[in-house]
């Protein structure tokens, strides 16, 4: 079975510039790798597998070609893990605020 069918949401990959096409003066870790791009859209080809050359129609209706990278691409950024360095701040500052209010009242 093909990885994606016509009309399905997919993500394509393109190499925009190979390392030797990138401008001079870049830091070497940047200059030594290609300049790449990923774009989402709806598959125009009847069906395709990951790695195939395909065409997509983007969200604004433009046709762009590239290599099929992913079918049904998902957003996977999240809320992260609880950070112990942050968890106690709330109670610390509430106590500090209370203390400053009590100090103030004593002065009055």
């Amino acid at each position: 079975m093909a990885d994606a069918k016509r009309g399905e949401l997919v993500q394509i990959h393109k190499i925009i510039l190979e390392p030797d096409q990138r401008p001079d003066g870049l830091p070497s870790p940047t200059k030594s790798v290609p300049y790449e791009c990923w774009i989402k859209g709806f598959l125009i080809d009847e069906e395709a597998n990951i790695g195939d050359d395909v065409k997509i129609e983007t969200f604004i209706g433009r046709e762009i070609s590239g290599t099929l990278y992913q079918a049904n691409p998902t957003y996977d950024h999240n809320f992260g893990e609880p950070q112990k360095e942050l968890l106690s701040i709330g109670n610390e500052v509430k106590k500090a605020l209370e203390k400053s209010q009590n100090d103030n009242e004593e002065k009055i």
Partner: protein
């Protein structure tokens, strides 16, 4: 047609003239000087026009909220009689969740009026989402070019959230790897589509932000009977500072001290594939803040209308850990959960308020929305996964790219003053380097004094120490 890097870059001027509708050469008076106010007025929108256009799409008129609990806490760590009142402009209430809606609303309106079918911009931050949101309302197509990934295809959670937001507003998003070629690909897409270049740095962008400075001055005056004594502005490319300061002046708030605040990321190289994911802040930091002050015309248009050095009274730095701590304060003490990057100026304000008398007013001029990817827990999870050490302690021990230190108490929040005189010097030095061979004329000296908020004497003295002779 030559689509190579050098081929496209050679057609830069022509592409930008067609896609901004602005003939920048018309405003050039010498290789150094240009008619800044002439360029600002070229789009022929007054502040009142901008306010009307913004209102049409629900932008602006955001609440000004007094942060009474944070102010109390700051006073408990201030010298006697000190601790100014802190207010915040809740810009997260804009349609796409940040002040960037103001920055793009007029540009998108202008693009539509000129007959463009779509807009293009290069932004990995809130600006891209704002462009996509405004274009959706005006029925224009949007292409957003984002610097998202390093060469391992690892991306900051905050930028991945921005991709999602732009796509939610219907934009075509190009997720690119690290590199200054973002500008090349932008020109290529502009040439191919003939869409409008909704650059951050065009006149309509800055006029849009003027509404923010104007509004906060007016709101403060109406409520408190006085203009703000100080306004803290998160500084990156200079547009926020420029627009806000211009708006304050237009409201008559002439004596307000405008302070730029950036997250200190000195030592990290912004175009480096390795450094890219060693930072937790993708904007509002020194990696943009300092270079844009010392050379504002490094942008995607020939002349940048965002000229922070013209308007800044002070420039201060704050660490990443202090901003994360402040984000917790805002949520836990004021009931406002907002995105960390937008709290950069609030973190600075906690330190700055200690300098002010208790009856003085400090306005923090923005907040931004928060979401998956855009909050301390996700950004710090990412930082740890990329080898950054996280601990509580003295924030002075923060090392960009290595250690994030979360303060142990509010009294440890303290800005570092960046010598603005040094920035003025390096700006003039930079201009001289970029225009080597041109003998500066009187008009250039006048321009440089204005552009660096210094004086004729300062410009002449700097030129002397750089061994540059002016035309007699």
């Amino acid at each position: 047609m030559d689509m190579s890097y050098s081929g496209i870059m050679a057609r830069k001027k022509e592409i930008l003239r067609r896609t901004t509708g602005i003939d920048y050469e018309k405003f050039e008076t010498s290789p150094i000087a240009f008619d800044y106010e002439g360029l600002m007025n070229s789009c022929e929108y007054s502040l009142e026009d901008a306010q009307r256009v913004l209102e049409e799409t629900g932008v602006g008129k955001t609440p000004l909220v007094e942060l009474k609990n944070i102010t109390k806490l700051v006073r408990s760590t201030s010298p006697p009689g000190k601790g100014g009142r802190i207010f915040i402009k809740d810009e997260a209430a804009n349609p796409s969740g940040s002040f960037k809606d103001r920055r793009t609303a007029l540009s998108v309106y202008h693009a539509k009026k000129l007959g463009y079918k779509g807009v293009v911009t290069a932004s990995s931050g809130n600006y891209g989402a704002a462009v996509a949101s405004q274009a959706a309302k005006r029925g224009l197509k949007t292409i957003i070019l984002q610097e998202v990934y390093d060469s391992r295809k690892v991306g900051q959670p905050e930028i991945l959230e921005k991709t999602r937001a732009c796509e939610a507003y219907g934009a075509e998003v190009w997720q690119l790897t690290v590199g200054p070629e973002l500008f090349y690909i932008m020109l290529r897409v502009l040439e191919e589509t003939g869409f409008f270049s909704a650059s951050l740095y065009i006149p309509t962008g800055i006029t849009g932000i003027e509404t923010l400075g104007y509004e906060l001055a007016q709101q403060t005056f109406e409520r408190e009977g006085r203009f703000p004594d100080m306004v803290a502005v998160t500084h990156a490319g200079g547009g926020n500072v420029t627009g806000t300061a211009r708006g304050l002046k237009k409201a008559g708030s002439h004596d307000t001290v405008v302070v730029g605040v950036s997250v200190d990321l000195r030592g990290l190289h912004m175009a480096s594939d390795l450094d890219f994911n060693r930072k937790s802040f993708t904007t509002g930091h020194t990696g943009f803040g300092i270079p844009f002050l010392t050379w504002p015309d490094r942008t995607d248009v020939p002349r940048n209308c965002a000229r922070g050095l013209r308007y800044l009274d002070r420039y201060v730095l704050i660490s990443q850990g202090e901003v994360f701590y402040t984000t917790e304060l805002l949520a836990k003490l004021e009931g406002m959960e907002r995105g960390p990057a937008g709290n950069t100026s609030l973190a600075g304000a906690i330190s700055l308020a200690r300098e002010l008398d208790r009856d003085q007013i400090l306005v923090v001029q923005e907040t931004e929305y928060t979401a998956a990817g855009k909050l301390p827990s996700s950004q710090l999870t990412f930082a740890k996964a990329n080898g950054i050490e996280l601990r509580r302690g003295n924030p002075k021990e923060n090392v960009p790219g290595k250690t994030i230190v979360i303060p142990e108490s509010v009294d440890q929040i303290e800005v570092e003053e960046f010598d603005i005189e040094k920035i003025r010097y390096s700006y003039i030095e930079h201009v001289m380097k970029m225009t080597d061979g041109h003998v500066p004329i009187q008009e250039d000296i006048v321009f440089l004094a204005e552009d660096s908020k210094s004086s004729f004497d300062f410009v002449r003295e700097t030129m002397k120490s750089l061994n540059v002779k002016a035309a007699s």
